[in-house]
Symmetry: C2
């Protein structure tokens, strides 16, 4: 065990204790222990220098909203129990639909994150596309670069991994269109039932945006459900560059967004949008005898109960976490921030290109990129090259100014190691990246 692991394990053990019979009388001491002893030994995802995985942001307005929401503790998933607050939930969904460009009949639900939103989308796709009889024949097409929550969600929804086609990507890590169509045709010939086609609007790996417009046409041609995973990229639809890159997303049957990414909110919030709300409603048509059924003449006047659009029945007034920041700040600063992130990603790429022996493995399509060190004049095996870059990543991160994360390509050398830079927090400014470039430069020259 290295000392970092050793310390972590020691810290974890220090927390262990039997269920206390009586309360701790000194509340301040209790909180001081959390803040002074446990929290410092953790990665600060809120830092402007956090460029690993996909940054969150932790916008305070949303934290305040959650505090109010939990204090109110109203039952918003049933319209008549809290009509004004349920209307806020619905308003938030509508705003998100507007950002993506979905039609008036669209609907959706605010979830606890991207994975649950994805599972909900898969269930809606299946309910509207397959029957009990051909369920096991249903086949799904996703990029090999797609987020693994999609495969996990498919298996959870009862699909065999054998029915999931992971389609290879091109040099820019975009799904290869011709291979999708080939796979669909082959499966049809084999008596299978292609029903779900997934496009990535910004992969987690490199931020690659698939050719959404053309994939949508394919889905239409084969009468399949068209899902767009826009968990990371979706909010860039607020910018002109994002809109042009994600053209066709408004044709999607379902779209997953992650406000804890592109809206800089704290962790614990996702969203599913569905082009035709009725298709979502149809997928959650369950009820219990303990729930009051409203007479039909009333039902036709009030909005859907949110519990009938989601696997969650009881939950907190979650949409308020999106509503309050948007009301307090307006959408403008979000658009400006996202535009700035696009600029920063371009800027740092240019800077990286000026460092000797650095190769850009994935150019930024949005605000994620990947690079590696490939020193000329050394005859390094792929394994040695990987180890060099693992050392480089470690050397950069140890400086403590920026935090980058590893990337393993599925291209060229299989499993080639590179270093990701993901720029998304509203706290990340050019100053952080200038420091970052200086750290990368120094770490690089120390290594070769």
């Amino acid at each position: 065990m290295n000392s970092e692991i050793e310390n972590a394990v020691k810290l974890a053990k220090s927390v262990a204790e039997p269920l206390p019979e009586n309360g701790h009388t000194d509340f301040e001491e209790l909180l001081r222990d959390i803040f002074d002893r446990l929290v410092p030994h953790s990665t600060n995802d809120n830092s402007g220098g956090y460029l690993a995985y996909i940054p969150s942001g932790g916008l305070f307005h949303s934290i305040l909203a959650d505090f109010i929401s939990l204090s109110l503790n109203r039952y918003v998933t049933m319209f008549m129990a809290a009509p004004g607050l349920a209307a806020i939930e619905n308003q938030v969904v509508r705003w998100l639909c507007d950002i993506i460009g979905l039609p008036p009949e669209a609907g959706g639900v605010i979830t606890s994150g991207g994975s649950i939103a994805t599972i909900t989308a898969i269930h809606a796709a299946r309910t509207n596309q397959l029957t009990d009889r051909n369920l096991s024949q249903g086949t799904i097409y996703v990029s090999e670069q797609a987020h693994h929550c999609i495969e996990q969600g498919l298996v959870l929804c009862g699909f065999s991994p054998k029915n999931i086609r992971k389609i290879a990507t091109d040099n820019d890590f975009r799904i290869r269109l011709s291979l999708i169509e080939k796979a669909i045709e082959r499966d049809k010939t084999d008596g299978l039932h292609p029903f779900l086609l997934v496009a990535s609007a910004g992969t987690t790996n490199t931020g690659a945006v698939d050719n959404i417009l053309e994939i949508g046409k394919l889905a239409q041609k084969y009468n399949m459900w068209f899902h767009v995973d826009a968990a990371y990229g979706g909010f860039f639809m607020l910018t002109e560059r994002g809109k042009s890159l994600m053209k066709g997303i408004e044709q999607a049957d379902s779209v997953v967004l992650n406000p804890h990414k592109g809206m800089f909110l704290p962790y614990g919030i996702g969203a599913l949008l569905v082009k035709n709300k009725n298709q979502l409603r149809k997928s959650f048509d369950f009820t219990g005898t303990y729930l009051p059924a409203l007479p039909n003449e009333i039902n036709s006047h009030v909005p859907e109960d949110i519990m009938h659009l989601s696997p969650e029945l009881t939950r907190e007034f979650r949409g308020f976490r999106i509503w309050l920041p948007l009301k307090m700040l307006g959408i403008k600063p979000f658009r400006e921030q996202l535009d700035e992130k696009l600029n920063l990603a371009q800027w740092i790429t240019e800077q990286l290109l000026q460092i000797p022996n650095i190769r850009i493995v994935a150019y930024p399509q949005l605000s994620i990129l990947a690079f590696k060190l490939e020193p000329s004049g050394y005859d390094l095996s792929p394994k040695e090259l990987d180890n060099l870059n693992i050392k480089l990543l470690d050397a950069i991160n140890r400086r403590g100014n920026i935090l980058l994360s590893p990337f393993r390509s599925t291209h060229n050398v299989d499993g080639e190691f590179a270093i990701r830079i993901a720029i998304l927090s509203f706290r990340t400014t050019k100053q952080h990246l200038e420091q970052g470039i200086s750290d990368i430069q120094n770490a690089t020259s120390n290594l070769i």
Copy 2:
């Protein structure tokens, strides 16, 4: 439309507006509109008089915990990113396992609610019991009184409603053991694969607790996964009466708990416990190339990443919402509160029995009961009797002191209407129930 619906729809419409470009400059006005205009027009689930559905409670200590958790915004689902906080999550799961009586090798995960916990349990059951090949042969056995999130979860997980056996219940609304075994035997004869047996530890309808010990033995006999839905009843394991009623729950393969019920926390929190943590780990064995795999020699020293025990990958530091109240208060007041709720349910039943023409439809096994008005000397049709009780429920609720909810039995007259009393909030005291009994008495004598 009646005026209540009309007002609700008007209120909802008043919230509608286009996505604002700029922020609202007067934050106080913004919040005043929520608190003074929207919130008053909603059911106050936090009131001590709230005896409808299953009360929450909205314990403030947990709201404070959530505020801290979202402000920290740490990535607790990956151990090495926040070892001390991940350890708190694990500690909370261990405490819950202790309350239920699960062995040291048990594990689990804190979810956003009971439905997601149930879906996670179903997926774990399926992963450990079925293969790709016999998935569609898998059959499931639940009480006809079971919560509908179980059927919904099963369908979401890819099971046909045709494979779900809803077993009839006895006079006390407990699942009939002999019918379970008959159904299992019949399905086996038909070449199906019985794999999941569900017991309810406190139904939502009447609080009925199935014979958990005997159902567990059946599950063992047929080598099936044994799931206990203890969303409502589970925390009564803190009391002697609860322990005696739920004997055998410690043999369950999985247990769902809802801390927003029996721990009085605000909405938005559930828990899944699994007797053998490895079975849960095995069910979420997915990863992405963008996630760093720890070397095996390190992995063996650190606890499982929480993201590998759940469909959720990124989420907030949720366990803190349970940990902080337990640390600040100890478990003692929770036990005392739950004991008091059991007493109150007995007390109000005795009071109801003294009101002429009241029949107890479901006696309290824990803290839920159901009653109806059956006036002697009138020759009422079932439909007229239902209407009388619908009027009675309305008359009680309109007084505004207590809120009760409707119940439709599946016994005797099919769909017979009765009135539920669910006592669970720590804010509910004998004074509330005295007022309630007086309201029921008056409403009753006004009606007949």
